[in-house]
Symmetry: C2
Subunit: 227 residues, 2 copies
DNA sequence: CGCGCTCGGTGACCTCGGTCACAGACCCCG
DNA sequence: CGGGGTCTGTGACCGAGGTCACCGAGCGCG
């Protein structure tokens, strides 16, 4: 089946399927047509993919890299809402394609990013006529929604040390990030994060180096923060 | 109970269309079939419609009353995520129907509630074959999602006095609720809400009576809270 | 090498919001 | 009318976390 007619398309075709197995069920002809109209976009690390109050021009499917979707406060503080990873689409775009409103958050490339943007008309058509894709998009919505609800709960009720600890644990044994970046995930400020990290270090739970945090005792970090 | 169905069905048919005009486009036969399988449910004020970690048995369309969807913290504090009003469906249910996960929040009837529950199979079928409904559900998702994102921002960055003030303004000139209930919307506690309300009253922005807050100066409330 | 930048550490200080403990105030109802 | 619930007002206290100011350590680079 894989007859190459155009040099560029075939690898893309493959990569898309790799990241989005849902398209395997799409008849070859339609997939071909889809890829013909979709554009492959790249953005460098730090590039702004979308911003509050911008319309959007296509539904993005992420192939490579990761996108940070965050809210920014007037005073410069930020909070991470969620990350878009390869194999996921950006849900916000979906909402704004299907509907009405503009983006209400900012999307920044955390690393160099490659994505396929499906033009609105094609997206509509897919949603309409390709059930697996619809299911895929729906599942994503559902997931994001409950993530957001979790996040609300966390921000409303959990203390910052707990939240930081959880962040460290779930982001693996070695985190390469400045304290500022960690603060920007939590919606806090650098000094506080530094302070807490320091206190974790004093208890032997982590090791601190420049731009790097190493988790030494995940269990203690996960446990209750009383002292 | 379901042998009076003939009597019940006709008004129900009408009421559903009234609240959910989207069904006007559904062929009469299919609507008939749908209503045949759907159940009309009622719950008294205060009834728990769903709870964290419960599966769900149908997609609810709210006809009457309002449902409070909230997260509860172990220590008893609560925060309102959103309200479901007549003419809306409960989005969480959608996610959990289409997918996987259980509820991650609690739904409580704020007043006596009437809803039509569409069984999963019918819901699937509607989503699949009835484009306006699909669009309706999608739009709801998008809307809730951005509401949740707003809420995250608000909880993370706004002070409680601002949030309370906004709540009062947007809930109309007269709010009939205990301070405790207001606190439960904001994710705070009674004493603090009382304190803030008192301070609003001292500035002449509201009038306080038992179980009632009257907004006197919406503009001042909306304005910056500095002083 | 020395300059300048980014990153991290720290202490003083403040404020918002939560906690506790009560005391009236209001209200329904027996 | 009296008494027990619910609602609200309040004061003392405290702790988490934000703000400010500043410094020093590491690092890249001409």
């Amino acid at each position: 089946m894989p007859d190459t007619q155009e040099n560029e398309k075939q690898p893309l075709h493959k990569r898309l399927l790799e990241r989005f197995p849902v398209f395997a069920a799409l008849p070859a002809a339609r997939l071909e047509a889809l890829l013909g109209e979709a554009q492959l976009l790249r953005a460098p690390r730090g590039g702004i993919l979308f911003d509050a109050n911008q319309p959007c021009r296509g539904f993005p499917l992420l192939l490579e890299g990761s996108v940070r979707v965050a809210k920014t406060a007037p005073n410069g503080r930020e909070i991470l809402l969620y990350r878009v990873e390869p194999g996921q689409g950006c849900i916000l775009s979906g909402g704004c394609l299907l509907g009405h409103s503009d983006y209400s958050a900012t999307g920044i490339a955390e690393s160099d990013v490659e994505l396929v943007a499906i033009p609105p008309a094609r997206f509509e058509e897919l949603m309409l006529g390709f059930e697996p894709f619809r299911r895929f998009v729906f599942a994503m919505y559902g997931e994001r929604l409950s993530e957001m609800m979790e996040l609300v709960e966390e921000v409303a009720f959990r203390r910052l040390d707990e939240r930081l600890a959880r962040l460290l644990v779930q982001r693996g044994p070695v985190i390469a990030a400045t304290h500022q970046k960690l603060a920007d995930e939590l919606g806090s400020v650098r000094e506080i994060v530094s302070r807490l990290l320091r206190s974790f270090e004093e208890r032997g739970w982590v090791r601190l180096e420049r731009e790097r945090v190493t988790v030494l005792d995940a269990k203690a970090l996960s446990g209750p923060q009383k002292d």
